[in-house]
């Protein structure tokens, strides 16, 4: 019989105790790891949201509706379109503090035409764009030609596929990475493509636009404010000076989401901390109680020739084995819970979720794993140390195993 076997036997020989300890370790690692993954997913979602907005102010026609409706359309993928006169663009040029501006065109695909559901079509001006290009770059770096389209990640359309929008043959030339937002169900094209589509719709008798020609309208204008100007002041000035439009500060659209997120992430942090402290305390108490209960056994091992160091190794080894198994089980269980339910969480919490990359997930797993595998042995190290300082003869007298 080897000493390794002694270690294993003392774990398997007390199944109930070992299982309880495994459970505590699993809870601790699962909480740290699962919490970190959820937190990072939310964080990823919000920063992709911010990046996507790029502009400081969005100007849309007053008829576009309330801010919340706008928010839903821009962030959550609710489809919609609206138009205002092109002259708004010239008026915006006169406003002090507007550094750059770029117009976009919105359109919604007729249902059952290309995709299973209605798709938001967004046309942007490639020469002036400040909000779309930067994150389209990864998918398609060339200029978009006529009727060339980039599709969102959730659409089933593959790159290279030809499909029809209002009877016009379009070609998917790129696919976006997942953003966890409404963009995932939208498609992007140049302004000219969208204008063409609007015309095609009109020729089919679908009244997207009442009187004007698509060349005279725009849907929205994205604005970058000049350095040194107050964004809120510029927003207010636009609202005051230009009739029939509403200017919305982009950041204010995501603050609702960001606020929710910060509350949630604070909650998660507190929860993780509480679970960790509680688990550490429980481990300390349990390992100390166990060491006390097994005093006689330890004294016996000393009598038959275990050195202090070897006894400490035995005690730490036992704790370590339990912690390793428990931590792995916790991480596995948390993975099984977090990833499949990510979508559910997204829906329930109404927050964009974006799973962190495999590298960061591995990192979180490692952190959770080490947290448990350090705490457990540390908790038992204390009792091991205390035990080794007392004369064996004395422990032998107290212990009766």
């Amino acid at each position: 019989m080897s000493i390794k076997k002694l270690l294993l036997k003392s774990i398997t020989g007390r199944p109930l105790r070992s299982l309880a300890l495994l459970f505590i370790c699993a809870i601790m690692s699962g909480a740290v790891y699962g919490g970190a993954v959820v937190w990072a997913s939310l964080d990823n979602g919000i920063s992709s949201l911010e990046k996507r907005l790029g502009a400081d102010i969005i100007v849309v026609p007053k008829s576009a509706g309330e801010k919340t409706k706008l928010e839903e359309m821009l962030l959550q993928g609710t489809v919609g379109y609206f138009y205002m006169d092109k002259s708004v663009s010239d008026e915006l040029d006169k406003i002090d503090g507007v550094e750059k501006q770029s117009s976009q065109y919105f359109l919604v695909s007729a249902s059952s035409e290309c995709c299973s559901a209605k798709v938001q079509i967004i046309g942007f001006d490639e020469d002036t764009d400040i909000s779309v290009k930067p994150w389209l770059q990864n998918s398609y770096s060339k200029r978009l030609g006529q009727n060339e389209i980039i599709v969102g990640s959730k659409l089933t359309t593959k790159v290279g596929q030809i499909f029809k929008l209002y009877g016009v043959e379009c070609k998917a030339v790129g696919k976006l990475e997942s953003t966890g937002t409404g963009v995932d169900t939208a498609v992007y094209a140049s302004s000219d493509t969208v204008k063409g589509l609007i015309r095609a719709a009109q020729s089919k008798g679908i009244s997207v636009l009442s009187k004007q020609s698509p060349d005279d309208v725009i849907s929205s204008v994205y604005i970058k404010v000049r350095e040194g100007y107050d964004i809120d002041e510029v927003t207010a000035k636009i609202n005051l000076d230009i009739d029939g439009v509403q200017a919305v500060r982009t950041r204010s659209m995501i603050t609702g989401t960001a606020d929710k997120l910060s509350v949630l992430s604070a909650g998660i942090t507190i929860l993780i901390a509480a679970v960790c402290i509680l688990s550490a305390v429980i481990m300390l108490v349990v390992f100390t109680a166990l060491a006390n209960e097994r005093k006689g056994e330890f004294a016996l091992l000393r009598v038959i020739g275990f050195s202090r160091a070897r006894l400490a190794r035995q005690v730490l080894g036992e704790a370590f084995v339990i912690c390793v198994i428990g931590a792995l089980a916790g991480i596995a269980a948390a993975s099984a819970a977090v990833f499949p339910f990510g979508a559910l969480i997204e829906k329930k919490a109404d927050l964009p979720m974006l799973s962190p990359g495999i590298l960061s997930v591995t990192g979180y797993a490692l952190i959770a794993f080490s947290a448990v595998c350090v705490t457990g042995p540390l908790a038992s190290a204390y009792s091991a140390y205390r035990l080794s300082r007392i004369d064996t003869g004395r422990i032998l007298r107290e212990g009766d195993s």
């Binding site: 019989m1 080897s2 000493i3 002694l6 036997k9 003392s10 398997t12 020989g13 007390r14 006689g296 056994e297 004294a299 016996l300 091992l301 000393r302 009598v303 038959i304 020739g305 275990f306 050195s307 202090r308 160091a309 070897r310 004369d391 064996t392 003869g393 004395r394 032998l396 007298r397 212990g399 009766d400 195993s401």
Partner: protein, 225 residues
């Protein structure tokens, strides 16, 4: 192996806040040599177990020294002393002691596993048979009776064939026949060259012993040999 204890004293803290002291051993000398059986007796609480623990290297004396073949064991490092205990000392504690999660055979083999020598399972089986533990060999130690545990302790102490054996009341919990068997087994070890020290109240053990010592007034009085 010759074991010499010189001027051993031991006092324990006692009373509230550990302010008082109780002197259990004072200036005790003893010399033990291989091939002989020593019996120590004395009233309960007189310090017999304390002396055994000090001699076996698991309790440091307040003053005095214990040497094995001239080497002062309490000046050794913990590792050296542990190795010495493992290879040269067989100790049967007064309290029951066994690792409950291991079987009887595994418990008996424990010292042999700790020493890095190859495990001597033939010796273990021989002791298991001799002490009537054959049927219990694969039973977990946490179900054993007092007398069974006592015999397990003896087999465990002898498995490495140590050169000195300390047996603290090894016949407790045993019937007369078993008690005789245990003392006989210890005598056999002495005949094989080991020094054997037994703390016991059994009269027959006293009459068979080479040396009889009585613990009195914190000191040993030689009565025989």
């Amino acid at each position: 192996m010759i074991i010499t204890a010189k001027g051993i004293s031991k006092s324990y803290k006692r009373g509230k806040g550990g302010k008082g002291f109780v002197q259990v051993l004072s200036d005790t000398d003893l010399s033990i040599e291989g091939g002989k059986v020593y019996v120590i007796y004395g009233r309960s609480g007189s310090g017999k177990s304390t002396l055994m623990n000090i001699l076996a290297g698991i309790l440091s004396p307040s003053s005095g020294s214990v040497s094995y073949d001239g080497r002062d064991i309490y000046s050794l490092s913990d590792r050296e002393l542990s190795a010495l205990r493992c290879l040269s000392v067989g100790y049967i504690p007064q309290m029951h002691s066994a690792v409950g999660t291991l079987t009887v055979r595994e418990n008996i083999l424990l010292p042999s596993a700790v020493s890095e020598k190859p495990v001597d399972s033939a010796r273990a089986d021989e002791l298991i048979d001799l002490l009537g533990l054959t049927e219990l060999a694969d039973v977990r130690a946490n179900v054993l009776s007092g007398g069974e545990l006592r015999r397990l302790s003896l087999a465990r102490a002898l498995v490495n064939s140590p050169s000195v054996i300390f047996a603290d009341e090894p016949t407790n919990d045993l019937d007369d026949e078993c008690a005789k068997l245990v003392v006989q087994t210890l005598h056999a070890s002495a005949q094989a060259g080991a020094a054997v020290v037994i703390v016991t109240h059994e009269l027959f053990a006293r009459s068979d012993a080479d040396v009889v010592l009585c613990m009195q007034n914190s000191s040993l009085v030689r009565e025989k040999g």
